[in-house]
């Protein structure tokens, strides 16, 4: 085993080399659209998330980053800066939606506008949402107008392994600018809904949870074998290269194994370099999926777990974050009406790091309200705010750049005329990488076109 674990990184790095290049290319958005001059938000209430609330604060954005933040008296404003009066406003980090289908759908019922999931097989880790991500989607301006600046884009959850997520920024000239991290995580869905058993006549494998689990296990084993074959090849190649010159005639390089993109896609996850997003709703599935993840030493976060209330202590013992929700999921008939609404608070009380997701595209803009509603069922307000900002940034490994109002972080933030988690509040400004986003969308255009007739 030791040998294999040594070999896989070597093997991984070979295939991750081109991938790494892609990631770097995709990182353009981090520094996108340099600001013309510093922008100052003056006089607002700053919800820093990382270091409390600053009443009557000042925040300065320069070159796409936050360059200063503090109480008004303590921050010096340069003469060339553009100053926006934020008196009476609340300034907060752009929200991060930990699962959306943004850019993969336009009109749900129109198949040609959807690239949500490849249903031809259940094991599709080599599907990359960045290949379908539609930067010009009308849904993106609609979403960002509500202060959501970043999101995970995931394929629809109808396959056990539907493909790899991307982490996006909701502004940019192109998909390349907007996709900040390609293949950031791999969803593994184990809810029972991935079974292929719509009708008895059309039944095909895998029709049961046993089938799904066996198929997953076989895929991971195949990927391990695949890694081993490449490792053996690399070893033989090195040996051949190292043979002394007098054995030149025997210095035949071995034939490389055939490349398999599907198995290759699983390798970074088998090496626990990236997280698996383990989705399940009920306790039995949760335990099956966790056992499977442990069997292959996968790094994972949990997703959904709506109906897992009886095993929350077990969930806490796993010491992994949970993407929770949607909290609007209907409870089971045997559950109290607020069983799912209370879940974020229950997890928080057990020390679990949580993040919220809309699991939506058109309605992703309503993410803040889910966080707000969870506070009505016991989640402290600060924690609700974290669950759509800093916690999400930490879970996705981007907390050095996003998730709080701190000097040096990307200037992704929003300004609202009230509590950002409340339905009544109107978002007045949105900044993404320091660029002030025009507060327009297809919807505001229709409003303006017809509203005054």
């Amino acid at each position: 085993m030791k040998k294999r674990s040594q070999v896989i990184p070597e093997m991984g790095s070979r295939f991750l080399a081109p991938l790494g290049m892609i990631i770097v290319m995709g990182m353009g958005g981090w520094q996108a659209a340099a600001q013309a001059k510093p922008v100052v938000l003056k006089g607002g209430k700053l919800l820093t998330v990382s270091h409390g609330t600053i009443e009557n604060g000042v925040l300065i954005m320069e070159n796409g980053k936050i360059s200063a933040i503090g109480p008004a008296a303590s921050v010096k404003i340069g003469r060339d800066a553009r100053v926006i009066d934020a008196t009476g406003m609340t300034v907060y980090p752009g929200f991060i939606d930990s699962e959306t289908q943004l850019g993969l759908t336009e009109i749900s019922a129109e198949p040609m506008t959807n690239d949500l999931v490849e249903l031809s097989d259940e094991i599709m880790p080599h599907m990359h949402v960045y290949d379908a991500f539609h930067a010009e989607s009308e849904l993106i301006p609609v979403t960002r107008l509500n202060g959501i600046t970043n999101a995970i884009v995931a394929p629809e959850s109808k396959d056990t392994l539907p493909g790899q997520d991307s982490f996006i920024q909701l502004d940019g000239k192109s998909a390349e600018e907007m996709v900040l991290v390609r293949d950031i995580a791999l969803p593994l869905n184990f809810t029972g809904k991935e079974r292929r058993n719509e009708t008895w006549e059309k039944r095909k494998f895998p029709q049961t949870r046993m089938g799904l689990a066996a198929q997953l296990r076989q895929s991971f084993l195949d990927a391990q074998d695949y890694a081993q074959r490449w490792a053996d090849y690399e070893k033989k190649k090195a040996e051949a290269a190292n043979k002394p010159n007098d054995e030149k005639d025997k210095k035949q390089p071995p034939n490389p194994p055939k490349r398999d993109l599907k198995l290759e896609a699983l390798l970074p996850y088998l090496e626990a370099k990236k997280p698996i997003v383990l989705a399940e709703t009920e306790p039995s599935d949760l335990e099956t999926a966790v056992n499977l993840a442990r069997e292959f030493k996968l790094k994972f976060v949990l997703n959904h777990i709506h109906h897992s209330q009886p095993v929350l202590d077990y969930v806490a013992s796993l010491k992994v974050p949970v993407i929770v929700g949607p909290i609007y999921e209907d409870p089971k008939d045997y559950e109290r009406y607020d069983a799912v609404y209370k879940l974020p608070a229950e997890l928080y009380q057990r020390g679990v790091k949580i993040a919220f997701a809309s699991y939506e595209a058109h309605n992703a803009r309503n993410l803040p309200y889910a966080a707000g509603y969870a506070t009505a069922f016991g989640l402290p307000y600060e924690e609700a705010l974290k669950a759509v900002t800093l916690n999400a940034a930490e879970i996705w490994g981007v907390a050095d750049k996003l998730g709080s109002l701190d000097v040096g972080k990307t200037a992704n933030l929003a300004v609202a005329n009230g509590d950002p988690l409340d339905l009544k509040s109107d978002v007045k400004h949105v900044f993404i990488a320091g660029r002030e986003i025009p507060m327009t969308s297809r919807q505001t255009q229709l409003r303006d076109e017809y509203g005054h007739r």
């Binding site: 009109i107 749900s108 609007y328 209907d330 595209a361 506070t375 109107d426 229709l446």
Partner: protein, 429 residues
């Protein structure tokens, strides 16, 4: 003491003997005062530190103080908000898989009450969200669907107790993509909007013929023609005849502006009135015509893009239409939204600047008007049913959660109780 009350007492005694701690259904505590509430009346503003006197399930007094006998049970609302019960003017809960009789585009003889599953827990979950009345409609597969049932969310009270007494009959019409898709996919008519409206007109013409046959028969009887034989009774035609006679409130699922206009025109041609358009996501494009015809809308706050005819939906639809004089309701059309319609209504404050009262009206009085029960429920006024919600938090916010829900003056949901929080229901009974 009436015989009914005696029976009730006997029933209660039995229940007490059986060790049941909670109050039995059909509470005998028929006089209640709720005090110390911020009463949001919907029609007459808010009353700070207000009280409501409830007698026999009806509101008998509202104000800073109320005249009530000392024997009345007092509920201290602890300074919380109190609103009328929420009314959902478009719901398909408690109908199992029987929402659509999608075997013919014209099925007006379908009675939703025949599918009404009064044990569906969705009724409870709506109740816990503050919903006290719902209009359960046929689906939108058919151009003319079935006849609705109006329920009160008295979960645990039994089927007949849940039916809204004396509520007018409503019938569901549809249009646009859904009928087109359902029948078009079977290569049947309708598969286009032309086909849609044609099958609708065709059916209404048949109903006119049917009415004429009966009129002729009745005339013959009047003239004393004893051998006159009656036409065959046809439930489908009878239902449509009732539409033409104005006996049914016509509730039409319709999205696009042009179709809203066409449906009103067909109504005029055949002499019936459209009560409300449901969804009506493009109402903002022609709202003055809706207002001129006194047609209401039951719409979503911000749902959009789920199909092509929902592509021009904007969250300002409700308020833009309201400002043009349209009676606007926010409805659920989903088991999910039904659990938090207060939040959906609150969105109209943000999108377009509805006032608190206007927003609240969209899930109470205006919804009641669409169902035709506005003289019974939908506001806190003397003489109306005591369907009330006491809220934890401000109801028109992300933080409003029903604390207690009363229907006909009786507490059906109480958040502080364990289990489901229902005084009148226990699992397995």
């Amino acid at each position: 003491m009436s015989r009914f009350a005696i029976r009730l007492f006997a029933a209660m005694a039995l229940l007490c003997l059986s060790g049941r701690a909670q109050q039995p259904r059909g509470s005998v505590q028929n006089e209640i005062v709720i005090k110390n509430a911020i009463v949001m009346t919907v029609t007459r503003g808010n009353i700070q530190n207000g009280s409501i006197y409830i007698k026999n399930g009806k509101i008998e007094g509202v104000g800073k103080t109320v005249d009530a006998p000392a024997s009345a049970t007092v509920v201290d609302a602890g300074g919380k908000y109190l609103t009328p019960g929420i009314i959902d003017s478009h719901s398909h809960i408690a109908l199992d898989e029987d929402v659509n009789e999608a075997t013919s585009p014209i099925t007006p003889q379908m009675m939703m009450i025949d599918a009404f599953d009064y044990q569906d827990k969705a009724i409870y979950r709506g109740l816990a969200g503050g919903v006290t009345t719902s209009l359960l409609l046929h689906g939108s597969a058919n151009m003319i669907g079935g006849q609705a049932v109006v329920i009160k969310h008295k979960y645990g009270a039994g089927r007949d107790a849940m039916l809204f007494p004396g509520a007018p009959r409503s019938i569901k019409f549809a249009s646009g993509e859904n009928p087109k898709r359902v029948y078009g996919s079977r290569e049947q008519m309708p598969s286009t909007r032309m086909g849609n409206f044609e099958v609708q007109r065709e059916a209404l013409v048949q109903a006119q013929d049917y009415m004429r046959e009966w009129d002729q028969y009745n005339d013959k009887l009047k003239r004393g023609e004893k051998d006159a034989s009656p036409p065959k009774r046809d439930l489908k035609m009878e239902a449509l005849a009732d539409v033409l006679r104005g006996k049914l409130l016509v509730q039409i699922h319709c999205y696009r502006a042009d179709e809203l206009l066409t449906e009103m025109e067909i109504g005029k041609q055949f002499g019936y009135k459209v009560r409300a358009f449901h969804h009506a996501l493009e109402a903002y494009k022609m709202a003055d015509q809706l207002a001129a015809n006194d047609v209401g809308i039951a719409t979503f706050a911000d749902w959009w893009g789920y199909k092509y005819e929902a592509w021009d939906a904007i969250p300002w639809n409700a308020v833009l239409s309201m400002r043009k004089g349209v009676r606007v309701a926010i409805k659920s059309d989903s088991e999910d939204f039904a659990r938090r319609l207060n939040q959906e209504a609150a969105k109209t404050i943000r999108y377009g600047g509805a006032t608190e009262e206007e927003a609240l009206k969209m899930i109470t009085l205006n919804a009641a008007w669409i169902i035709g029960v506005e003289d019974r429920v939908g506001s806190i006024e003397v003489g109306k049913d005591a369907d009330l919600v006491i809220w934890d938090g401000y109801p028109l916010s992300s933080y409003g959660v029903p604390s207690k829900v009363l229907i006909d003056g009786d507490i059906y949901f109480d958040r502080t109780l364990p289990g489901y929080g229902m005084p009148h229901y226990r699992e397995g009974e």
